[in-house]
């Protein structure tokens, strides 16, 4: 069953407290971020319904938001999500090569997840790192000035972290 922990509920209450009485729906975007982070990196229909109940709004109000914004994953993703920017400034700095290299290395195309469930590759539109291109988002942070060597190191780092956490 989908249920925030006590700690997550404290964060939920902090988010809701930023808005005037009766305007708790305003917390929907941050609460969906919290839910995605708390429940395995994606938002299941059950999670969306749970959030609707917590915020006392209709499930449809949550669905329409969850389907609008690109950062919400509506399907399961790997433990490590590589979001590679491919818009103009990254493209002219070789983002196509980075996507192709990740494909060669991990055997996944954009939108796919490795069989071991570790990596998902996704192409995204401009993330505001144009001066540090090519780049990808990995979790909370950006990895910039990507090269093949850097991609190798990032994959290695993720594998190590995954092994350490098991």
């Amino acid at each position: 069953m989908v249920q925030f922990s006590q700690e997550q509920l404290t964060e939920f209450n902090r988010l809701v407290s930023r808005y005037p009485e009766g305007k708790q729906k305003s917390a929907l975007l941050p609460v969906l971020h919290l839910a995605q982070q708390s429940f395995g990196g994606w938002l299941s229909p059950e999670t969306l319904d749970y959030v609707a109940g917590l915020l006392k709004i209709k499930p449809i109000e949550v669905y329409e938001v969850a389907t609008f914004y690109s950062m919400y994953n509506l399907k399961p993703v790997g433990k490590y999500l590589f979001e590679v920017c491919q818009t103009g400034p990254c493209m002219i700095n070789g983002s196509d090569n980075i996507v192709a290299y990740i494909h060669d290395k991990l055997g996944i195309k954009p939108g796919e997840t490795t069989a071991d469930g570790l990596f998902t590759l996704k192409t995204v539109e401009c993330l505001g790192a144009c001066g540090y291109a090519p780049m990808m988002q990995l979790g909370k942070h950006y990895r910039e000035h990507l090269t093949k060597e850097k991609v190798d190191a990032i994959i290695e780092e993720c594998r190590k972290n995954a092994a350490a956490n098991n």
Binding site: L29, P89, C130, G131, Y132
Partner: protein, 450 residues
């Protein structure tokens, strides 16, 4: 070295902390504004400064502030637009990462001027590490009496909250941002009513860009008239430019708006010239939405005058021969870059980011993307060029918000200035696929620095 008002202290060690920021003269403007001035006189100073919105539209900030309605008993809000998403633009991120207290200081003064007791920073969701930096700055300001209840004993209460978006370029449009802040899809609202009358939760609201609000600090410190002496004409003060693409020194630069485009690209203080000894082919000077210019028109206006890095000069000649300052996202393309492919990636971006509310934008951005992809992949027909032109014309001006225009302009400008390249691409599909570009098919003279 030009004048620096925003980034002059950005590289002082430890400037992210309240202590160092304060030691370097920070929060003096808050003291001056809250103790020696009143909301009206602050709005007056901002008007005198000539400060124009730094997010892209360039609307005079003081005038925008003066529109805010003040109905009895209805709270008003200031919202900071930190949803920086225009391709080529990464200046607000730089400000918030390097010198977060400058924005917080600007927000306190601006909240006082507008009567906002609950002020929100709406930041793009992907900048996921920056809310921590901002929230720490807010906590420090609060602990030192600059935020919270009864600030500096003046009786003014103000809180600042940071809200993350979740990946939607459209939320940089102020009414979409407000919708998003209300927990909805980022569908822009029909105006009027403008946010100054009915904004967040139907209350009077002002939405300003990060850089605009940060610039309020030097304006209060030096006075609006002194600020207005920097720059030329209606391009007063300083502007942050985020430079990227094929240049030696990509990064964020603060310029006073008297410098020429040529000096900006080739001087070592700024872009440091074109990378790898290549030649300049084209540039999008103000973020992906503004028209791309070929080298000759970028460096000199159609009248043959040197083009300067300011609102008027970049726009000189209208869209026929000019472009726009936009957000200050400066994208430089060297001689090897393919205009067709670059324009295709931008068209894909706008299709991805269209909210889907207005048919011309929802359908048109998809058609433009498909046709450009087809041409780029060597499957284009000559008639596709006119078809693209026709589609962009039918989007422009026919949508609720400016995203439609923003999607139309890059395609229009690419065809206007690089039609020969589109034709070459269609006539030489195999050669074009080699991406071994060169300049053979491109007629305009290419600038070589002296």
């Amino acid at each position: 070295m030009g004048v620096k008002l925003l980034l002059d202290k950005a590289h002082v060690e430890g400037i992210r902390s309240f202590e160092v920021y304060r030691r370097e003269g920070g929060y003096r403007a808050v003291e001056k504004a809250l103790k020696e001035m009143n909301p009206e006189s602050i709005v007056e100073e901002v008007k005198k400064s000539g400060l124009r919105g730094r997010g892209g539209a360039g609307f005079p900030a003081g005038m925008k502030w003066s529109f805010i309605a003040k109905p009895e008993g209805v709270p008003r809000h200031l919202v900071c637009n930190a949803d920086e998403s225009e391709p080529g633009t990464f200046k607000d991120r730089y400000l918030m990462e390097h010198i977060p207290h400058l924005l917080i200081e600007g927000l306190i003064i601006s909240s006082f001027a507008l009567g906002s007791h609950d002020t929100y920073i709406y930041i793009r969701g992907e900048y996921a590490w920056i809310p921590d930096i901002l929230e720490q700055a807010i906590e420090e300001a609060k602990a030192n009496g600059f935020l919270g209840k009864n600030i500096l004993g003046t009786g003014f209460d103000c809180n600042i909250y940071v809200q993350r978006g979740a990946g939607a370029y459209i939320c940089g449009e102020e009414t979409a941002l407000i919708e998003s802040l209300e927990g909805k899809r980022g569908n822009p609202r029909i105006k009027p009513p403008f946010p100054a009358i009915q904004g967040l939760w139907q209350r009077p609201t002002v939405v300003n860009n990060v850089e605009t609000l940060s610039a309020v600090v030097p304006i209060i410190n030096m006075g609006g008239e002194e600020y207005a002496k920097i720059g030329i004409g209606r391009s007063t003060g300083t502007k942050l430019i985020s430079a990227c693409g094929n240049i030696n020194k990509p990064g964020v630069y603060e310029i006073d708006m008297t410098i020429s485009v040529e000096a900006f690209i080739y001087s070592d203080e700024y872009c440091g010239g074109i990378a790898n000894g290549k030649k300049l082919k084209a540039c999008i000077p103000g973020g992906s939405s503004v028209p791309v210019l070929p080298a000759n028109l970028l460096l000199k206006t159609a009248k043959g005058e040197p083009r300067l890095m300011n609102y008027e000069s970049l726009a000189d000649g209208g869209f026929a021969t000019g472009s726009s300052m936009g957000s200050g996202g400066f994208i430089v393309l060297d001689e090897d870059q393919c205009i067709v492919k670059h324009t295709y990636t931008l068209a894909r971006f706008y299709r991805h980011e269209s909210c889907g509310q207005c048919s011309p934008c929802r359908e048109g951005t998809g058609w433009m993307e498909k046709i450009l992809k087809k041409i780029d992949e060597g499957q284009g027909k000559m008639s596709d060029i006119d078809l693209l032109w026709d589609i962009q014309r039918k989007i422009e001006g026919n949508t609720i918000c400016p995203l439609g225009d923003a999607a139309a302009w890059p395609v229009a400008a690419a065809i206007r200035h690089f039609r020969d390249e589109f034709e070459w691409h269609i006539q030489h599909p195999e050669e074009a696929q080699k991406r071994n570009y060169g300049l053979a098919h491109y007629a305009d003279p290419i600038h070589v620095p002296a």
